[in-house]
C-alpha cells in the first residue's frame, strides 16, 4: 500500500466574490521513500496541494490519507519546509531545531543532543548559537530542513525551498538534500519551478496544469544518482517536460 494517498482532491476558493477552482480532482499515490517533484505554471495549485497534505488547508472535496489514516489537521509526522523563511526569529539555530522535541516534552539535554546531530547533518555545527537574522538564505533553509527532520516525520513537504537562492547555492543544497534523503529515506514532496532541479532530484515528476489545477503528466525517472545534469537521458526528459509546459502555456 502507498504511504500517502491523495484521492479526488478539489479545492475552490472564493476571491473577489467569484469562485475559482485551485485544484480539481487531483488523485495521486505516493510510496514510502519516494521523492516526488511537482512542477507547473504559477497559480496551478502546487502550494495549495502541499498545504492540504500538511493539514493547513481543508480540501473542498476528496481526502488525503497517510498510512490509511485520513488527515484532519497539521501534525509532526508531516514536516514542511516553506518557500519563505519561516524560522522563529526569537530562537537561535539550536532552539529552532529543538522546537518540535520541546513540544513533545523531551528534556533539554536529550533534545539538544538530538538537535545537534541534525544541525551537523546540514553542516551548521558552528552556527548553532546564531539567530536567524545572522544567517544567509541558504543557511536558513538548511535549519528549516533540520527542524522538520528532527521530528522524524513520515513525509517531508517542501515548497520551493531553494527558490530564493542563487544558482550555485541551489546546486549545493540539492546535492545535500539528496545525501540526507538517501541517508534518512524519507518520503519527499517537493515543489519547484525549475525543470533541472526536478530532474536532478525526483523519482517521479508530477506536471500540473492551471485553471483548474490538475495533474497533466507523470514522469518516472530511473536514472541512477548522482545524475549528470547534461547527460543525454536528462536532456531527453527535459525536452519532454518543457514540451508539456509549453503546450500548457498555449492552452
Amino acid at each position: 500500500m502507498a504511504l500517502l494517498e491523495i484521492v479526488g482532491v478539489s479545492k475552490r476558493f472564493i476571491a473577489e466574490g467569484k469562485q475559482m477552482e485551485a485544484l480539481k480532482e487531483v488523485s495521486l499515490s505516493i510510496d514510502e521513500r519516494e521523492f516526488v517533484c511537482f512542477i507547473g505554471p504559477s497559480g496551478c495549485g502546487k502550494t495549495t496541494l502541499l498545504r492540504i497534505v500538511a493539514g493547513l488547508v481543508e480540501p473542498s472535496s476528496g481526502w488525503v490519507s497517510l498510512d490509511g489514516q485520513p488527515i484532519t489537521g497539521p501534525g509532526p509526522e508531516r514536516g514542511m519546509v516553506f518557500q519563505e523563511y519561516s524560522l522563529f526569529p526569537w530562537r537561535n539555530v539550536l532552539e529552532n531545531v529543538g522546537f518540535g522535541l520541546e513540544l513533545k516534552g523531551m528534556d533539554r539535554p536529550s533534545r539538544e543532543a538530538l538537535s545537534r546531530q541534525y544541525i551537523e547533518m546540514v553542516g551548521l555545527e558552528r552556527f548553532e548559537q546564531r539567530f536567524p537574522h545572522e544567517l544567509s538564505g541558504g543557511m536558513k533553509q538548511r535549519v528549516a530542513i533540520a527542524r522538520a527532520l528532527v521530528n522524524e516525520p513520515r513525509a517531508i513537504l517542501m515548497d520551493e525551498p531553494f527558490g530564493a537562492l542563487d544558482a550555485q547555492t541551489r546546486n549545493t543544497m540539492q546535492t545535500e538534500l539528496l545525501r540526507i534523503w538517501s541517508d534518512k529515506r524519507k518520503t519527499v514532496l517537493f515543489v519547484t519551478h525549475s525543470v533541472d532541479e526536478a530532474i536532478y532530484l525526483a523519482d517521479t515528476i508530477i506536471i500540473m496544469s492551471a485553471r483548474p489545477g490538475r495533474i497533466k503528466d507523470r514522469i518516472e525517472i530511473n536514472i541512477p544518482r548522482p545524475r549528470v545534469r547534461t547527460s543525454p537521458e536528462v536532456n531527453g526528459i527535459r525536452d519532454r517536460i518543457l514540451q508539456d509546459l509549453r503546450s500548457e502555456m498555449e492552452d
Binding site: P74, P76, S86, L87, F88, N92, L103, A144, A148
Partner: protein, 264 residues
C-alpha cells in the same frame, strides 16, 4: 580645525566629554542666573539645591523614595497582571476582542487622574489608593501593545509551529505568539513606566497619599521652600531616567537580542 577642536575637547573628558560639558554649562548658567536674580522663591540657585540635598538626602532615600516605589510598583505590577491576559486574549481570540474592545475604548479616554476621588473613596489615603491611580495609567499602554504584538504575528510562524506539532491554542500562544509579541509588550511596559511615574507624582500631590516624593513637592511648596521643591523635581527626573535606562539595559538589550534583525 573643527575636528582638531573636537578631538581636544573629547580628550579632556573622555568618551562623553562634550555631553559632560553641556550639563556643566547648564549648571553654571543656572547658578549665575540665580545669583543675579537673587530671589530664592523665583529661582533657587544650584548651590542652594545642593545644600538642600545634603540636608535632605536621608529623608529622600529612606522615607520618600521607598513609599513612592511602593506606589509605583503596586500600580505597575497590577497593570501588567491585568493587561497581559486581557491583551493576549484580545489578540488571539476574536470573541475576547469583541467583548473587551468596547469596554477598553470607553474606559481608556478617561484620564487616570480623574479617578483620584474614587481612589480615595474606595481605598482611603493608603498606598493602594496611590497605586490604583498608577495602575490606571499603566494598564492601557501595556494592554494595547500586547494586543498589537499578537495581532501583527505573521501567519507563517503559526503555520510552521503547527506542522511541527504545536497545534493547541495554549501552546501556540506560549511558544509562538507570546515570544513574538515580547518586544512590543516590553515597549508597552516602558511607555507605561513613564506614564506611571507621572501619575504617581500627581496622585501623591493631590493628597491620595500622605508621603512620597510627589507629596513632599506639594508639602515644601506650601512651606515656600522652593529650593527643596526643585530638589525633589530633580530627584524625580533622575529616578525616572534611571528606571528607564535600567529597563532598557535589563530587558530590551538582553532579553530581546533577536530583535536586532527585525528593526534594521
Amino acid at each position: 580645525m573643527r575636528r582638531r577642536l573636537e578631538g581636544r575637547i573629547g580628550s579632556i573628558g573622555g568618551a562623553y566629554g562634550i555631553e559632560a560639558l553641556s550639563i556643566a554649562g547648564l549648571l553654571v548658567i543656572w547658578q549665575i542666573a540665580a545669583q543675579i536674580m537673587d530671589n530664592t522663591l523665583l529661582l533657587p540657585s544650584f548651590l542652594q539645591v545642593v545644600g538642600g540635598f545634603l540636608r535632605q538626602w536621608q529623608a529622600i532615600l529612606f522615607e520618600d523614595l521607598p513609599i513612592s516605589l511602593i506606589h509605583f510598583f503596586i500600580g505597575l505590577i497590577g497593570g501588567v497582571m491585568v493587561a497581559l491576559p486581557i491583551g493576549m486574549a484580545m489578540g488571539w481570540f476574536k470573541v475576547a476582542d469583541r467583548i473587551f474592545d468596547p469596554l477598553v475604548e470607553l474606559l481608556r479616554p478617561i484620564p487616570p487622574l480623574a479617578w483620584i476621588p474614587f481612589a480615595i473613596i474606595w481605598f482611603g489615603l493608603t498606598d493602594e489608593s496611590a497605586g490604583f491611580i498608577v495602575f490606571v495609567g499603566a494598564v492601557f499602554p501595556i494592554m494595547i501593545n500586547t494586543y498589537t504584538g499578537f495581532r501583527s504575528l505573521p501567519m507563517i510562524y503559526v503555520e510552521s509551529a503547527k506542522v511541527l506539532g504545536c497545534t493547541r491554542d495554549r501552546d501556540l500562544i506560549r511558544y509562538v505568539a507570546f515570544p513574538f509579541a515580547l518586544p512590543s509588550i516590553a515597549a508597552g511596559v516602558r511607555i507605561a513606566m513613564g506614564i506611571a511615574w507621572m501619575c504617581l507624582v500627581a496622585a501623591e500631590m493631590f493628597g491620595v497619599s500622605t508621603s512620597g516624593l510627589g507629596f513632599k513637592i506639594w508639602h515644601f511648596y506650601s512651606l515656600h521652600r522652593m529650593d527643596l521643591v526643585l530638589l525633589y523635581m530633580i530627584v524625580l527626573g533622575l529616578i525616572g531616567l534611571t528606571m528607564d535606562r535600567a529597563f532598557r539595559f535589563l530587558v530590551e538589550d538582553r532579553l530581546l537580542r533577536w530583535r536586532v534583525g527585525l528593526t534594521q
